[in-house]
């Protein structure tokens, strides 16, 4: 089975303004994304980027590479926090023989997300 390769790419840095815009756009005003003191009380060193914003930024890399019309499905597992100012690296990853997608890393090497991606034109699609 030959799946369309996904090239490596970079995202960010993710600004606090982007986080604020995203929160307003989707109506997610959880203070863990905006209030550093709330985040610290929750045991985090700083506010965290919305998980769906991280996902949207990964989707955007795929849109740029393949076009929106080829995107059928993405299934993302969020594995670690992303913080304002982070620059992310998106790298291709195989998930067994049948699935492929990407892994997302912070600059310090922390893996923050993995995603299985299905594109139109792949085998069985």
């Amino acid at each position: 089975m030959i799946l369309t390769p996904i090239p490596a790419s970079e995202v960010g840095p993710i600004s606090r303004r982007s986080v604020a815009l995203f929160g307003d756009a989707v109506g997610d005003h959880n203070p863990v994304h905006f209030d550093p003191e709330f985040a610290r009380r929750a045991g985090l060193p700083d506010t965290v980027v919305h998980g769906p914003l991280t996902v949207a930024l990964v989707v955007d890399r795929l849109v740029e590479e393949f076009g929106a019309e080829r995107l059928l499905n993405i299934d993302v597992r969020l594995r670690g926090p992303v913080f304002p100012g982070d620059r992310l690296t998106v790298e291709p990853r195989a998930f067994g023989e049948a699935d492929r997608g990407v892994a997302v890393y912070r600059a310090n090497g922390d893996e923050v997300a993995t995603a299985i991606v299905i594109l139109a034109g792949d085998p069985d699609q």
Partner: protein, 146 residues
Amino acid sequence: MNVETSPGVNHDLKGQVLVDTEVVVDPDRLEMLSAAIGSATGKVTATLVALFGPTLAGQDSVIGPLGLDLRRTLQGGQSYEWHRPFRAGERVGVTIDVEDIVEKQSLDLITVRAVFRGSEGELIQRQRSVFVQMREATEPSTEATG
């Protein structure tokens, strides 16, 4: 970490529909989303991720009834199944239900599903959001991120 205890996740909502309504895809919000993405393809990408099921009808539509405590809840997963992009200004139907609630050690894993349909009833998108809530006052899991 000093976190107050509060009532846990409402397991009775498993399988229940929490939201069944119509919403308009707001062009201004699409613009904000595009700006948040901040790339040349942001306008296109925004039409794929324009609506986020758990908050589109307000924080009290899903988060509140489920009993999620935002001090100890983070998002652990998000999936999209696309059938077509959202269109600026269109009215879409949305049904949001609690697909699953699973107890796992000291965590509750809650899967919220949102299904969006166009004016002719055609499927636009399915999405799933997985939330992870600590059942007791413990450090946040590295499995969950926000």
